[in-house]
Each structure stands twice: as structure tokens, then as C-alpha cells.
């Protein structure tokens, strides 16, 4: 039996890459992520009472039933059944940079960042369907290119999954514009998941995130990274071509690695600072890590 915290070989990116159906992929990831955990991560304000449950350390004290405690001197918590008034907004960055696949020599089995985001978004969609939550899907690079309003039910889920499956990466990145346009479409108490590689200036990204944060109950920024992006390349001299601008830059990997690592670290720190300031969760997911584990970190 797989433990929740251990990486499952069955859910390795390579395996997922060979699984064709997005829905199936999403379910595999979802099942792996939810194994042994509470099945309802999304809790709204107006949840319907379902049952009492004996208190165990770690339960939210807000759900303690003090009346029962007063009457019976027992600690019990109240459990609710979620209602469908929770909306999950999924925003996927589909700029060209999201199409980058780590280990370029093995692109047949590797997941691109967009692939990973697609699977994770699909898993969240399936999870939302199970909880009868509405799911909204927005995609775009420089601007919001498509938007599915929040809807629930199998049809809506199928539509979202179909859209996810049909996504293609292209164009440049303008996260500020993208987030602003997305924020304008967020209504009600929403959980927002932003899938992007955050390859943009931190200040611009922060401006967009600020708008998202205002409109959402909780927002999670899922930063997709590949191994190459984090560890840079091996030895050798390469001419790097920016996938969005086409700009090239010749580098000696070994000699440039320290500078790259430093710049990347600074960028990550600035992003983390921006998210922290906005009380946003920033989860970094590497495309070569097991996605069920990544999904567990993504879920609130």
C-alpha cells in the first residue's frame, strides 16, 4: 500500500505521460493525492450539518460542539456536507514557455510544464465534480484567451477536461494582464489556482496577483518548473533560444551556472515575498516529480 507521503512509481511523470486520457490521468493523480486524507478539502461557509465526530487532536477547534461538551463533557466536532456554492477557478498560463519540457533529449516521455499543469488542473476539476463544486477554466498567455464560466456537473467537467486536453502553448507571457482579466471574472467565494511558470518580472506578476487576491477566498499560485530550469544544463556551450521572444544567448553552462542559480534564487525570493505579502500560497511543482505529491501540496 502506498503511503501518502511517498512518491508512487505508478504516478511518475513518465507513466503519466504514457497515459493518454487526461481524465484518467487526473483520476490517478487525484486518487493518489487523496489516499488516506480528508476527502473534502473545500469547505464553504454554509455547509450542511452531516454528523458528529469524536475529537482527535488536530481537528479544527472551530468545529468543536461546545453544547455537547457542556452536556456530556465530551469533545466532539461537527461535520458538514459541502454545498455547491464553492467555485474553483483554474487559470493556466499557456504561453510558449510553458511548453518547455525538461530533458529535451527525452521529450517523448517527459512532461512539459503545460502538461503537468494540465494534469493537475484536471485532477482538481475531478475533485470539484465529486464535491459538486463549480469549476471555471481560464487560459491565456499575453491575455485571457478562453474562459469557461463556473459550472458543475459531469457536462461541465467534461467540457473543462476537453478544453484542458486541447490546450496548446504559444505566445508570450503577460501575467499581469492575464491575472487582471481573470480577476474580473471571479465572482463569489472562489478558490483560485494559477498554473504558470512565473517567468516574468516579479513586480508585474505581483500587480496581477493583487487583483486575484481581492476577488478570491483563497488563491494558490502553482509555479511549474523543470529540472533544467532549476539546475541549469550540464557542461558545454549552448545557444539558448528564448521560447517566447526568440532571442538567443550563447552561454557556457558550467561557467554560467553560478550566475544563473543566483538570478533564479533572487527571482524565486521576490516571487515568494510577493505571494507572502498577498497571503497567497506559492507552490512550486517540478515536472519530474510525482504529481500526486504535488497535488497534495496544492490542495488547501
Amino acid at each position: 500500500m502506498q503511503t501518502p507521503t511517498s512518491a508512487s512509481p505508478a504516478l511518475s511523470p513518465d507513466l503519466l505521460a504514457r497515459v493518454l486520457g487526461l481524465k484518467l490521468r487526473a483520476k490517478i493523480v487525484l486518487e493518489g493525492a487523496l489516499a488516506g486524507t480528508h476527502r473534502s478539502p473545500f469547505h464553504g461557509y454554509s455547509s450542511e450539518f452531516a454528523q458528529f465526530k469524536g475529537y482527535v487532536p488536530g481537528d479544527d477547534l472551530r468545529h468543536l460542539d461546545w453544547k455537547v461538551y457542556g452536556r456530556r463533557d465530551q469533545l466532539v466536532t461537527r461535520q458538514y456536507r459541502d454545498e455547491t456554492n464553492t467555485r474553483v477557478h483554474l487559470l493556466l498560463d499557456t504561453s510558449a514557455s510553458m511548453g518547455y519540457t525538461a530533458d529535451a533529449v527525452n521529450t517523448e516521455t517527459g512532461l512539459s510544464k503545460l502538461d503537468a499543469a494540465r494534469v493537475l488542473a484536471a485532477a482538481l476539476t475531478v475533485l470539484a465534480e465529486r464535491q459538486r463544486d463549480a469549476v471555471s477554466l481560464a487560459t491565456g498567455g499575453e491575455r485571457l484567451e478562453s474562459f469557461l464560466p463556473p459550472a458543475s456537473g459531469p457536462r461541465a467537467t467534461s467540457e473543462v477536461l476537453a478544453r484542458l486536453d486541447a490546450l496548446r502553448n504559444a505566445g508570450q507571457t503577460d501575467l499581469e494582464t492575464l491575472f487582471v482579466q481573470e480577476a474580473a471574472r471571479i465572482t463569489g467565494q472562489s478558490f483560485v489556482f494559477l498554473f504558470t511558470d512565473l517567468w516574468q518580472d516579479a513586480d508585474a506578476v505581483a500587480a496581477g496577483l493583487r487583483r486575484i487576491r481581492r476577488k478570491s477566498r483563497a488563491a494558490t499560485v502553482v509555479q511549474l518548473r523543470t529540472r533544467d530550469e532549476e539546475e541549469f544544463f550540464g557542461d558545454g556551450t549552448f545557444r539558448l533560444r528564448d521560447m517566447e521572444s526568440g532571442e538567443t544567448l550563447e552561454i557556457a553552462a558550467a561557467q554560467s551556472r553560478p550566475a544563473y542559480t543566483a538570478a533564479l534564487k533572487e527571482h524565486a525570493l521576490r516571487m515568494a515575498a510577493a505571494c507572502s505579502k498577498l497571503n497567497l500560497r506559492l507552490v512550486t511543482v517540478r515536472t519530474d516529480e510525482p504529481l500526486d505529491g504535488a497535488l497534495r501540496r496544492i490542495l488547501p
Partner: protein
Amino acid sequence: MFSFLTPALFWLAPLLAVPLAIALMGRAQPKTRDFPSLLPVRESLQRAMRKHRLKNWLQLILRTLAILFLLLAAAGPVWRGHSLLQPPGSAILLLHNGAYAALPSPGTGEPLFDQQNALHRQLDSLTGGNTYVERLIPDEGIPGATVGKNTENDVSMTPFVARFGSPAEGYTRLLHNGAYAARRSGRQGTLHVFVPIFDTREADALAKAARPWLEAHPEARLIVTDYGSTAARLRAFGPVVADFTKEGMVTLHAPSAAAQQPPRWSTARTQRPASVKTGGGVTRVEVVIPLSEQRGTQWISGTFTLQDADSARNKVAFASVSAVFRVPPPATLCHVGPRGAAASLATLGEGGQRLRIRSLVPENLGMTTDWTDCKLLYLANPPNADAALLARAAAVIRSGGKVILETGPHTDPVLWNRNLLVPLGLGRLTVAGPVAASRSPVAAYPVAAGLATVGIRAERWGAPGKVTTAFGFQPATGTTVLLTTESRTGDALKGTKPLPLLVERAVGGGEILLWTTSLSEPTWSDIGLGPWAALAHQAILAKAWAAGIESRSIDTDSQLVIADADKGEGEDVGEGTLRVFGPQGDRFREMRGEPGGWILGPFNRQGVYRVESAHDTTWFAATLAEPPPPFQASDRVRFRELLGETAGRQTLLLDADEDWRKLYGGVRLRSVLLGIAALLLFAEGVVSLRLTNLSNLTKPPNPSEPRKY
């Protein structure tokens, strides 16, 4: 100005391109890889790459420079900025290679010959574009040039001083003949003439001779080395520096009155002369130097004359000094030597005295000689001492004269005993045989030690004072043994069983002295440094002095007046009048008639001159003139004045202390360049190491390595 000792190595200059070639070959076409976005990291990457490229260039430059400096070092660069002379390019060097070449240089202590060698090495080290032809100009006119890889020796130079006597004439010949000979041989290049000067006479003569020559040869250079200080030292030491001296430089003539007396000798051991000193602060050591017969010289003493007997090997040999002693008529001091040299006795005890010796060489023994003239006869181991000669010696003694007999390899003891020694009551020679001699340390002799203190290397002559072979002698009653040998060691004046070496006996008004060993045969007695010289001279001169013997010698640069009352003014030299023959028997014609006599000289050759007139035949000796004062620093001004402005600019006057290596030489930079190359390689290593370290600090990911999350 730089030059290189091995410029041919610059053919390896293409090696400089090796680092660049390696860099270019190692520079593969970079593979293009997509990257999500360069925007956030572009600036850092660009900065890192600029730094990386800079390091690469630095590495390339360091490597190239290292190879460049290695090449330069291998090529042997020489900085000649401090050279006194510009590299000659193509030069013809004329070096006066007289006996002075063996002189010790006052400043460096190196003989001038070493300086010449240094010059040769320096010339050898010149770049390939510099070639030189060297002409050594020995005093004796021995052609020879043995040094220099670029040296060619195909010109026979005209002899210098020995042939021309006068320094001015010699310098003129040196300059003109040297230049002419060099040009005649087809050699092209600048003439560089190296001439040493030791005294003002030479300086004056050189300046006068060089001035017109230099003005006629504006490209030529005259390099004059002033050895005046050496001359001063030589003057102070006098004959002590017999090892290294120069013709005309050495004098035995002490100026004090004490020097006029011959050294005294005593048989008392305590008074045995450790050295011979004269007053006036001049140390005079009487040295008899027996030279081998193969070198064609006899033993000499007194005034030294040096000749370059072997200039090619820079060996300085001593030739015999001619001196004529004249005993007032009818007395004559006669000398019969063992071989056919002209004469061979010293001129000790001069100082204005005019002593004469009639030299009777074996070949001349048969000539008509009035033996009664001989008040002092010295038979120096004559090879053909027959009964007649010994009878003549006995006649000299009986007539009140003195006879000195020196035995040797030619001596027939039976003949001598029968015809001379026994009849005169002197004693009896016995069979000659080697004296049992083990060893005689040089230092045991105070004389040798004394000489060593003033620079004479006593060990050069083996065991001075050693008597190896001597006749035995049985002295008769009344015979005084003046000198004996020690029987065990063979050392003179030692031991309890003495073997008589020098005995003396008065016979009537006359006197006889007998040496039982040879003074001129080194295999018999090496008397080079012992007290023998003084004894020998004393034996002769004490008697000659007592007899009022008069020396008749003249300096070579002087004129001799021979009185002739019948001589009219302007009378030509012709047959039947005065005839003068030089030391080698050739006719001497530097003479002219004056009222009342003849004026002979100056003389271009030292030696004994024979003067034949209608009435008499006489001899005189021409010896080298007293050297003039040494060239002093104050004389430089005069030297320059004599040279004039034009020739002065072409003349380089060096101090004796100045190192000839500075003439053309410069600072050799090979070590410096090697050091720089090493530093460059070290720096290159540091840069490379730093680049490597940077790579190691950021290890590239290993795609095959499993990731743990």
C-alpha cells in the same frame, strides 16, 4: 637595444599560434537549445558570459605570452643598452697580444688574457649578424688567432715591438699594417683596435700614431686600456713579477746606492740570505731561472727580457739578457757558456758602473783571444773544455785573475783534475752521481716563502734549491768550502755530511771557484729560487767589482758615442772604418760620424753588439731602456689633447679595472624571461584552476541520477 644570441630559434615563432589554434579548435559550434524565458536571468547570464570570455581571453593571452617569453628566452636576448661600444656588426678586431696579455689585471685580478677571453666569449655571443675577424698582434710577430667561432685567421701580422723597437713605430705599423692586412684579405667591417698602454711614452706614441690614422678611418675605433696602475705595481715589485711582465717594464736597477753593491753571502747559516734586499724601498730578488735547452735559452739573471715564445698558448718565456762587462785593459771578464747563445750574465751592480763581459761562446773559443786580458773567466760547463782551455784558465789564475768553474754534464772530471784542479791545489772531483734526495719542501726555504709573499709561485719550478746531481769533491788543504749540500735531502746548506758545492781557493794573486754542480742544468740543480743566484752573482761580481770591471751597456733608445780621434765630421760609414754588428751578426747601420767619434743608435734590438774598428774589437750591450713613468689618470687629458677632437671621439679609453665584457656585452635577459614565463604559466594555471573550481562548485545535474522528493 636588444639582440639575440640564437635568433634562429625565431623560426619557432609559429608556436605562438598554438594556443589560439587550440582555442579555435576547441570552440565547437554551440548547440541551440530552447529555454523558457531568458528575461529574468538574461542580465546575469550576459554578465557571467562576459566574465567567462574575459577569462578565456586572459588564459589565451597568458598562454601565448608564456610561449612568447619562452621563445625569447631560448633565443637568448641581450640588452645592450649599457654597452660601451655598439655591436660591431661586421668587425675586424686588432688586438695587441703582447706579453702584457698575461699580466694580472689590477682591479679584477684576472689576467688580461682572461679579459681577452671574456671579450672573445662576448664576441662569440653576438648575434648571427655580427661577425668578427680577430687579428692577434704578438710582439714577436707570431701570427695566430685561435679564438672565436667566427674568427678566421688568415692574415699574418707584421711583428710589433720586437721588430720595430720604438713604440711609436710599432703603433704606426700596428694600425696601418693591421688595417692593410685586414683589407687585403678581403675582410669588410669596422676596425676595432685594442691596445694597452702602460706608460706615458706608450700613450704619447699611440696618440701620435693613432691620430692621423683615425682621422683617415672615421669608421674605426680605438680601444685603449690604461694599465698604468699595473705598471706602477710592476715598478714597485721589479723582478719579483718575473712571471708576468712586459718587455721594457721591468728593471732591476735599484736607485739607491746600496743596490750598486752586489748582494753578500755568508756561509754562516744564520746569515744565509733569505732574500736580497736593497735600500730605497725597492725589493730586489735575484733570480736565476734556468730554462731548458729545448727552449733555446740559457739561464739569465738581472734584467729580464720577455718574449712571446709561444703566443698562441700565451706562454711567456724568458730569453737571455745580454750584458757586456768590460774590464779595464788589459783585463777582460770572459765567459764561456755551454751553448751558442750570445752571452748570459747579469748586469748586476750597475747603477752607473759599466761592467763588461766578453762572452766566449764555444764556437768562438778558437778565435784569437788574448787570454791574459781575462781578469775573470767563467767557464759555465763548456761542452768542449779541452786541455787547452783549462790551461788557459790556469794561466788566468796565475796571472792574478779569477776563474769560476761550473761543472755539468759536459765535464770530464779526470781531465779537469789532471789539468786544473790538482795542479792548482784546489782538490779533486770525484765521480758524479745523484745525491740521495728525498724531498725538499718549497716552504722550507725562506727565500721561497719570501718570494711567495710577493707573488712568485715557487712551486712552479719544482724544488728550488734542490741539488740532485753533483760531482763529489775532495777539497785539498787550504781550499775553502763555501757551500755544501745536505747529504740526506740534497738540500743546500744543510746536513752534517756536506757535499761541497762551491769551493774557493786563492792561488797566488789569483783565485779559483768551483761549482761541483751545474747551475744551468735543471736536472742537476734547480737553483731557480734558492740563494744560488745571489751566490753565483756574488761569485762573479764580487771579483769583477774588485777588479774594477766596467759595464758597457746602453739603453736601446739611447745613442752611444764611440770616441775616435781620427774621425772627421760627416765621414761616411764605410769599409775600413768602424763596423758594428748586431746581436745576430747582421750589420748595424744606425750610426753616423761626428767630429771626434761615432754616434751609434738608437738600437732596434737588445743584445750584444760587436764593434770592429781598425784598432780594436769591442762589445757593448744594448738593453731595454728604463720605462717612463706609468700612465696616470692625469695623463688622460694630455692623451686626449694629442689625439685631437676627431680621433678622440673615435677612441675609447678604458681603465684597467673596466671589464671588457661591458664593451659589447649587455645584460642577458634569459633568466628574467624564463622567470616571466614561469609567472605567466603560474597565472595561467591559477586562471584555469579558478575556472575549474567554478565548474566544480556548481556541479551539473546528472540526468541518470534518480531524484528524491
